[in-house]
């Protein structure tokens, strides 16, 4: 007699291995997808922090630019979590035009680094910045650290600004996992001399 089909043990064993394989595949895919998501979030965090530092560096560096040939006070305000710079970009002798006054300030309530231009309301620039993770430090020509909120005379002495920014993104993995932390540092030499 010709045997047709599979015996019960065969079916059971094959079902067992098929289930095992499916579980492994699921776990594998899950891990891969988590990794992909993690990479995406980490990439986003790095990109956001890097762009923020890049833009800040450039805008701080041209502070005090006087397009009419008259140097301006570079810093209108300077503190550990807030800096306001100015430049006369179009050389009309004032700083009332677009992007001529730029403010970076930390918003504790929103845990966000805000950027404002002119008198416009501040806009979020970098989110996910917990307290104490955006820090500005100022140094003079002699590399002396200038601490606290700087008054006008002290602001005129500033030669170098150090920026520290740490972005802490929540981990996309639903299981408890360490947050994604990206840290960026930059040191800006102010190119324009104080008046």
């Amino acid at each position: 007699m010709t045997r047709r089909g599979f015996s019960l043990p065969e079916v059971l064993v094959s079902t067992f291995f098929l289930t095992l394989f499916s579980v492994m595949l699921y776990q594998f895919n899950r891990a891969v997808l988590r990794s992909v998501r993690l990479q995406e979030v980490r990439g986003e965090a790095q990109e956001v922090a890097r762009i923020a530092i890049d833009v800040m560096t450039r805008e701080l560096r041209l502070s005090g630019y006087g397009g009419a040939g008259v140097p301006l006070p570079r810093l209108r305000a300077a503190g550990p979590e807030r800096v306001e710079v100015q430049a006369d970009l179009n050389g009309d002798g004032d700083t009332g035009d677009a992007n001529e006054i730029v403010t970076y300030a930390y918003d504790l309530e929103r845990e966000t680094l805000m950027r404002a231009t002119g008198t416009a309301p501040p806009q979020p620039m970098v989110e996910h910045v917990p307290e104490g993770n955006f820090l500005l430090r100022y140094r003079d020509d002699s590399n002396v650290l200038l601490e606290g909120e700087l008054d006008e005379a002290t602001r005129a002495r500033v030669r170098q600004i150090e920026i520290g920014l740490r972005v802490v993104y929540p981990n996309p993995d639903p299981a408890p996992a360490a947050p994604i932390v990206v840290t960026q540092h930059a040191t800006v030499e102010l190119r324009n001399a104080a008046p």
């Binding site: 560096r61 397009g67 040939g69 140097p71 970009l89 324009n192």
Partner: protein, 361 residues
């Protein structure tokens, strides 16, 4: 049925299944890595060309001779206005083909913003067509350019008796010291230093001394003498007819004085402002002057003379001989030269200084 025919394996199926799962993952990993490389390369290229552009601008700023006029900068490397190269920055040794190596390089151009302001634009270029642009606004310094306490570009010999020449500014220690003696070439400076006696060396104090002798950026003294001579406020005096003592201007009322005829001062002369001696100068009496003394030829302070100049002494001519055999001092005083410049604006050379810097983006 052979053994081969009886095989019922599923290797091909399993391999294809595994490949189907792993291939997208591998492709994704490659894509991410490639993207990271692109981002990294572009970020690096942008940073590199920014620093190349900065190097170009710094090169240009450092290459502007002190005392150069704004107009001269605009005429390009050939120095002639109206030619095709106007607006190209006139680097003294030509614009480098690449910096620091190919494919990096910079190009610097100059354009006028207004009558008192020029714009220097440096464009840095590099790999992957990256470009960065930085610009500087430059203008004439408010203070005149003073190359040295005693500037004598064509000096052949100098003799110093009981006389001192100081590049340390009289007005204060905050002002950087100048060379006591400024000449037009390093070789001349070296030759003069080696020929000075120990006593003479000790009397030339200032930047880099003693003996403080250095090559400095040149000034067109002959043109200055001619310009002063054509000025409507000039007072021409023949030393032979001078009474003694005589006052040739004061610090409150400076005077532009030109000595004509025999340039020998025998009496007592005091003054302030600008004193021009186009035919050389000989002092046998006493001279006390505050401001700029401009001499066109050999300069002799006789053994019985007493000379005090606070400001600057500039001596024009080729192979001139300086004989300071009497007593006295020539002390750098930039405030006194500045007062002379304010009295006769637009004549003395001014250095070009940086007023503003920015990156274009």
């Amino acid at each position: 049925m052979s053994a081969r025919d009886r095989q019922r394996g599923s290797a091909l199926t399993a391999t294809l299944a595994a490949t189907a799962v792993l291939l997208p993952l591998a492709a994704f990993a490659v894509l991410l890595t490639r993207l990271d490389f692109y981002v990294h390369d572009n970020t690096r290229a942008q940073a590199e060309v920014f620093y190349v552009a900065e190097a170009g601008l710094e090169h240009a700023l450092a290459d502007i001779p002190r005392g150069e006029s704004l107009e001269q900068l605009l005429t390009g490397p050939d120095g002639y206005a109206g030619s095709a190269d106007d607006g190209v920055f006139p680097f003294r040794e030509g614009s480098p083909r690449s910096f620091p190596r190919a494919p990096f390089g910079y190009q610097v151009r100059v354009e006028r913003v207004n009558s008192q302001l020029l714009r220097l634009t440096s464009v840095g270029s590099g790999a992957r067509h990256a470009r960065a642009t930085v610009e500087a606004l430059v203008a004439a310094d408010s203070a005149p350019y003073v190359p040295a306490a005693l500037y004598a570009p064509g000096v052949r010999a100098i003799a110093i008796g009981d006389f001192q020449i100081s590049g340390f500014d009289r007005s204060g220690t905050d002002t950087p010291a100048l060379p006591a003696l400024g000449v037009d070439s390093a070789e001349t400076a070296s030759a003069l230093r080696s020929n000075l006696s120990a006593d003479a060396s000790s009397r030339l104090v200032g930047d880099g001394g003693p003996p403080s002798v250095a090559k400095v950026d040149s000034i067109g003294l002959l043109g200055l003498i001619q310009t002063f001579g054509a000025d409507g406020r000039v007072v021409r005096i023949d030393p032979a007819t001078l009474p003694s003592p005589v006052q040739l201007g004061t610090t409150d009322q400076p005077q532009l004085t030109i000595l004509v005829g025999d340039p020998t001062l025998t009496g007592s002369v005091q003054g302030a402002g600008v004193l021009v001696a186009p035919n050389g100068l000989v002092v046998e009496g006493s001279l006390a002057f505050e401001g700029l003394v401009l001499v066109g030829g050999d300069t002799t302070f006789g053994a019985s003379s007493e000379v005090h100049v606070d400001g600057a002494l500039w001596v024009d001519g080729v192979d001139v001989i300086l004989a300071f055999e009497g007593r006295g001092a020539m002390i750098s005083d930039r405030a006194a030269v500045r007062a002379a410049d304010l009295f006769l604006p637009g004549v003395l050379p001014h250095s070009i200084v940086l007023k503003a810097w920015r990156e274009l983006f």
